[in-house]
């Protein structure tokens, strides 16, 4: 019975995820369809070409852009439901190939940025609690607000100017090198680290005021033990939530970071797709982002009980209750 409940919960989550993805796909379609013009007109009605609307009409018809919006939506979503992401109107290539080309670079950048963000946040949070002088702790507490107030593109430009052009540590023409990836991850990760650090510091402060912390302190535990066992671990739950929420920040930030660092990725793919109204690409990327969000949230839900034993117990008790009632 318990197994059946879990299965039905899983089925419900998958169903919800599918609805979210289809809604994201349709919503993107809706937004693009209310924009003026169409990608073919935008491309061909350049005054350089000297075309008339009549001349480009057959091309627009070839791509089905002359059909009613509802029909276009139905055609697109039918294809999408079968796993066909369509052909890019701009590049004449399958969108799936373009996504596969762009995805690894963005995953690497976003993953590295998250790692950088976590490390920085931990360092700042540790410093805010454990620096020997009060002013040192104060500086650590101000750092997140400072980092948040500097846009990632400014951080990126400073890093490029200093480390690429002045010190020659990486080449802007080789954006996928280890050094270039590190600095791009730094630019993207610093603002995210600030958000995580703020949440972490607030929770560490809260834990430090608890009775069990005072007891542990009285038992004479070392500072690092106190921090890890009695402050950081209970504070991890909101951090996991924060990480899940930061995925959007990372995906959005990758657009700017990839553009500045000259990296080819999903962000730069979106940027050119927006400019050219290449909606098969845009819809696919938005749907991909929805998939990532769904997966990350699912992962966060699964992690909560592992990090907080109280949630595990509550879950087990709830399951026992249900079993009893059904029996």
């Amino acid at each position: 019975m318990t197994r059946n409940t879990s299965l039905s919960q899983a089925a419900r989550r998958i169903g919800q995820a599918l609805v979210v993805i289809l809604l994201a796909y349709s919503f993107t379609f809706l937004i693009i369809s209310v924009l003026p013009g169409d990608p073919i007109s935008n491309m061909l009605l350049d005054p350089e070409n000297g075309f008339t609307e009549e001349e480009i009409a057959p091309i627009i018809a070839h791509y089905g852009l002359d059909r009613p919006v509802l029909e276009q939506w139905w055609m697109a979503i039918s294809r999408f439901a079968l796993g066909d992401l369509g052909i890019s109107l701009r590049s004449n290539r399958p969108v799936s190939s373009m996504l596969l080309e762009a995805l690894p670079s963005t995953l690497l950048l976003a993953g590295s940025a998250m790692l950088v963000a976590l490390l920085l946040a931990l360092l700042i949070a540790y410093a805010s609690q454990n620096l020997p002088r009060r002013w040192g702790q104060g500086v650590a507490r101000v750092l997140p607000a400072l980092s948040l107030s500097v846009p990632s593109f400014v951080i990126g430009l400073v890093l490029i100017q200093v480390f690429a052009f002045q010190l020659g540590l990486f080449r802007i023409t080789q954006p996928n090198s280890l050094a270039a990836t590190f600095f791009a991850a730094l630019a993207l990760g610093i603002p995210v680290s600030a958000q995580i650090a703020e949440v972490l510091i607030a929770n560490l402060d809260h834990e430090a005021g608890q009775e069990y912390f005072a007891v542990a302190q009285a038992r004479g535990l070392r500072r690092s033990q106190l921090f890890l066992r009695h402050q950081l671990r209970p504070s991890a739950l909101p951090v996991v939530t924060m990480i899940a929420l930061s995925i959007g920040e990372l995906l959005g930030g990758s657009l700017i970071t990839e553009t500045i660092f000259g990296r080819k990725g999903v962000g730069s793919l979106v940027q050119s797709a927006v400019v050219t109204q290449d909606f098969p690409v845009l819809q696919s990327v938005v749907s991909l982002a929805a998939v990532v969000f769904v997966l990350v949230n699912l992962l966060a839900d699964l992690l909560y009980p592992l990090l907080d034993p109280r949630l595990r117990r509550r879950d087990t008790a709830a399951r026992d209750d249900t079993a009893e009632r059904l029996a």
């Binding site: 924009l35 003026p36 013009g37 007109s41 935008n42 491309m43 061909l44 009605l45 350049d46 005054p47 350089e48 070409n49 000297g50 075309f51 008339t52 609307e53 001349e55 480009i56 057959p58 091309i59 018809a61 070839h62 791509y63 052909i87 890019s88 701009r90 590049s91 004449n92 290539r93 399958p94 373009m98 080309e101 762009a102 846009p151 593109f153 400014v154 430009l157 400073v158 490029i160 100017q161 200093v162 690429a164 052009f165 002045q166 020659g168 080449r171 802007i172 023409t173 553009t259 500045i260 000259g262 080819k264 730069s268 793919l269 940027q271 050119s272 400019v275 050219t276 109204q277």
Partner: protein, 538 residues
Amino acid sequence: MPIDRRALLQLLSGSAGMLAAPAFAQGAAQRRAGGELTFLISSLDSGWGLNEKVDTYTGIVWGQIADKLVHVDEKGDATPWIAERWEENASQTEFILHLRDGVTFSDGSPLNAQAVAANIELWARGDTSRGVGRLGLFPSTTYKGVEALDDRRVKVSFTGPTLSFIPTLGYHKTLLRSVASLNLKAEELGNLDKQLGSGPFVVESWLEGDNVVLRRRQDYRWGPQAIAHSGPASLERITFKVVKDAAIRAAALQSGQAEIALNIAPHELRPLKARGIRVVAPDSLGFVSGFSVNTCAPHFDDVRVRQALQHAIDRQEILDTVFTEDWKPVTTLLQPNVPEAADLSALLAYDPAKSNRLLDEAGWQRGADGIRAKGADKLRFNLFASPWVNTSKQVDEVIVQQLQKVGIAARLQVVDIATFNARVRNNDSVPLREVSRSFLDAGVVGNVLTDADKGDNWFKLGQSNETLNRLARDIAHAVDRRARAETLKEAQRYVLEQGLFIPTAQLNQRLYVQAAKVKGEAYSGAGYALYYGAWLEG
């Protein structure tokens, strides 16, 4: 964004001058084989499809991968390339192209008459079943057909005189591709691995919208006759890399991470030059930057209003404010290097007193706010900056201030391409439409004057103006270039006198900012670089 990226980078690069490439003496340098050239470009977004998929950026890459039938220089003169010679009949309706022997595409397939015929047919008609439009500049309206007479001779026929045919063969989009590439399925057209040319470089690797790495083709020996080089290209490799931010392109060039950067903002050029970096603004055939005037727009049916505008614009101030010495003053509606361009500077003289007089005569009186009005009707309109020209907004800002001085209120609107097409293209309430159009043969001028033969009808006069009808007809039916040049000069004078076109500045769409060590490159008549003869000094 609230912070100007360029200002920030300039601030940060205070000592970057120390790292800049030193100025090299421009003496007689020895050609050196080998070397790699890195070219920073702002976009490769248009993909690698056929005909109109080639844009101003990918056109530069294509220029190294694919050959053309002729090379057209900055004066519009066509010289042999893959077509080693050509014949034309007296009525300019039939052309026979004689092709070079032994030319092959990079897959080894022959570039013969059949391949050339297939290319010409696709340029002229396109293939709507695969979403491929015809080539905009190709003279399709008079195109009759193409025939391969044998392996090395191609006959092209037109229903009327087509003086523009041969020069058009040197256009940056009339690229010769292998027959297999032309026949690819729609979803394969953008795959650069399958788009094969016969040029001096072949594709080594590429990433969609990001970079293309080209490698020298060792067996290449059919470069344009006009370029003083034979055999394979000197450069071993060329890397085209997209760097969208112009300030980063400039900084990368200064620090020696690249040899060439395309299109840096004009105000950044002087400091770069001071650091020994060369700015090459190749002469480009076409119209100058300016506005075609819609005579259907309110108040612009009055020639006095149009002429007032013509004299209210101080073109020297535009040059001094927005551009550098790399931009030449405009003398007519055609670029200064177009052989048929007339010197009509007098018609474009800045004369605000004359503008005021013309507007007074037309009944537009200045109101208390300084704006001219006829009763409740004010002389004001929206001025849309061209989304296709980088410097358009800055130029238009100056123009808005200049027009204000004579009592005309122009409100600057900066919009994207989609909005521009929706709000400007067929909107008769918009009087000025910014033009940016290149060509390789000035016969195009005849096609914009009226709507006859699918003409562009720039001034929205249709066929109501007898003078324009005659000029358009004479240009279209011309069979002699010299006689046509006279008609073209008459057309320029008439259009400017009537205030139907308001030139603003020379159109430099491709500005190559490059290290002094880059030598031997050439440019087509449309300003596209050819690196076949290029090498790196030192």
